[in-house]
């Protein structure tokens, strides 16, 4: 977007600013994209908001990595791990009787709700890989680094995830047009 010289100055400035991490600025920058992924993953706005805040709480306690290029994937990795934990907890809860407090997904858009329900039918790994790639725009290489797997494995997850998601999404009545 800008001339190379400007870009170098910008990178230098950002590196310097991360030494004393401006968490409020990072929150302003990443809270909404993180929340969107978590809402689509969990299907529950309040749980997603809770997990998004917890992401930052853990990040603040851990301290930001020195390399500014790693902040965004690092935050998403924390969020995705929290979402997977939540997913596992929900699975455990399926074995106990209904408490009467369970709620239906509270998404305001039927199609988005179908997205969540289709993702829920997938394994946690496939669902998060799809969201990180398509919703958050991470490259295969970045996801591979995040999950500690090969780029080829990410490619395979995406291929399997696409097919499984499309099948489930259309089965639920969603339109892929």
């Amino acid at each position: 977007l800008y001339q190379a010289q400007d870009l170098e100055m910008l990178v230098a400035h950002r590196r310097q600013s991360l030494v004393s991490t401006d968490w409020e600025a990072l929150y302003a920058e990443h809270a909404v994209p993180l929340l969107v992924v978590l809402i689509k993953h969990t299907g529950d706005r309040e749980v997603a908001t809770e997990l998004m805040q917890e992401t930052f709480v853990r990040a603040i306690r851990a301290g930001a990595p020195g390399d500014d290029g790693g902040v965004r994937p690092w935050l998403f990795r924390i969020a995705v791990n929290l979402a997977r934990d939540h997913h596992r907890r929900r699975r455990l809860l399926r074995f106990v009787p209904f408490s009467g407090h369970e709620r239906a997904p509270d998404l305001d858009d039927h199609q988005v709700e179908l997205v969540h329900r289709a993702l829920r039918a997938l394994s946690g790994k496939l669902a998060t890989t799809l969201l990180l790639h398509y919703e958050s725009g991470f490259s295969r290489q970045e996801i591979a680094a995040m999950d500690g797997i090969s780029e080829e494995a990410v490619k395979s997850r995406l291929a399997r995830g696409r097919v499984a998601f499309a099948r489930e999404f259309t089965r639920l009545g969603g339109s892929l047009s």
Binding site: Q3, V57, L107, G174
Partner: protein, 345 residues
């Protein structure tokens, strides 16, 4: 083989569009809440060795969440507050005199709640709004103009935060108005370059966004003017304003005629506009036709005759295109031209 590849690309695109479907009303709690939580003492770590214990813990967590969901206990902030908060963050980071172009109007396809601050330093910012079907709209400020592909068509736009601006369009729009490609409006305030750009919005939407930008921190007008007379010309419909405008020619009352002109035009040309029109010979309307809006402004093609030779550049009969902007609920003349002004592709 190519067919399979094409099908694969299309399938990938369809899945991507379904997954990227934007959410309405995404609102995040204030950062202070997170800071307070982070500063709280960590709870003691309890080892839970058995699955039963895990279930109990999960129930406790689930119960706590259900309790938290009780009506009235958690009220997310409205989306608009989040947008305002993002721009406030930009404001706080830039020097007080730094130019910030905050939108007051956005196309309905753009989600005002889903904002991404892509870059933010004391020297520059890049703010991206997202919308339906992957639409994005970027607002940026920096020390240099955006890179040019060298093949764009360029159109001059007047009155973007009181500055002349350039709308760049892909050359291909001349053969296909809906052609994809980057559209960009760019202008300079002091030593800073500002721009609005989108790969998915039309040039006309971009112009409307640019014309509607908030004027806070904008350069001062070339001609400062405070309106002291309203209701003498400007009407709630554009045709009404232009009929009165023509009737005011030859009356000698420049102050009354000034009510016909929008501030954006007076501030550039000066308040002598009103007297200039009032001193012309009397005019008689011949025809008045509505043309497609341009940049959100009403456009009319008007023909009239003067009672005598007006002299100067004017001819009789005269024909001009007028763009009328809405100011305080009434329409005023923002631009006069001899050729139609858009809508921009």
């Amino acid at each position: 083989m190519k067919g399979d590849e094409q099908q694969e690309i299309e399938f990938d695109d369809k899945v991507a569009r379904a997954l990227r479907r934007p959410l309405r009303h995404v609102a995040v709690p204030p950062f202070d809440r997170v800071r307070q939580r982070a500063n709280r003492r960590r709870p003691a770590i309890v080892a839970v060795p058995t699955a039963v214990a895990v279930i109990v813990l999960a129930l406790i967590v689930g119960g706590a969440l259900a309790e938290r969901r009780a009506p009235g206990k958690s009220t997310p902030q409205p989306a608009a507050v989040w947008e305002a908060a993002a721009w406030q963050t930009v404001r706080r980071t830039l020097p007080a005199s730094g130019p910030i172009a905050v939108p007051s109007w956005l196309p309905p396809s753009i989600d005002r709640a889903t904002i991404e601050i892509r870059e933010l330093t004391a020297e520059r910012y890049v703010i991206a709004y997202r919308g339906d079907e992957g639409r994005t709209l970027v607002f940026a400020m920096g020390s240099s103009p955006g890179p040019s592909a060298g093949t764009e068509a360029q159109v001059s736009i007047r009155g973007v935060r009181r500055s002349p601006a350039t709308l760049s369009l892909p050359q291909s729009v001349f053969s296909d108005r809906s052609a994809k490609g980057l559209r960009r409006i760019e202008w300079k305030e002091g030593d800073r370059w500002l721009r609005i750009e989108s790969e998915s919005l039309s040039g006309d939407d971009l112009v409307r966004v640019a014309w509607s930008l908030d004027l806070a921190t904008a350069p001062p007008p070339a001609h400062a003017f405070t309106r002291d007379l309203t209701g003498t010309c400007a009407s709630s419909d554009p045709e009404g304003t232009l009929r009165t405008f023509l009737a005011l020619a030859g009356r000698g009352d420049g102050n009354t005629a000034l009510d016909c002109y929008a501030l954006v035009l007076i501030e550039v040309v000066g308040p002598s506009l009103g007297q200039g029109w009032a001193n012309l010979p009397k005019a008689t309307l011949v025809s008045l036709q509505r043309r497609p809006d341009s940049g959100g402004r009403a456009q009319l093609l008007v023909s009239w005759t003067f009672a005598s030779d007006p002299g100067g550049a004017w001819g009789s009969p005269a024909t001009m295109f007028f763009l009328l902007a809405r100011e305080d609920g009434v329409y005023r003349i923002a631009e006069m031209a001899t050729a139609p002004l858009g809508p921009h592709p």
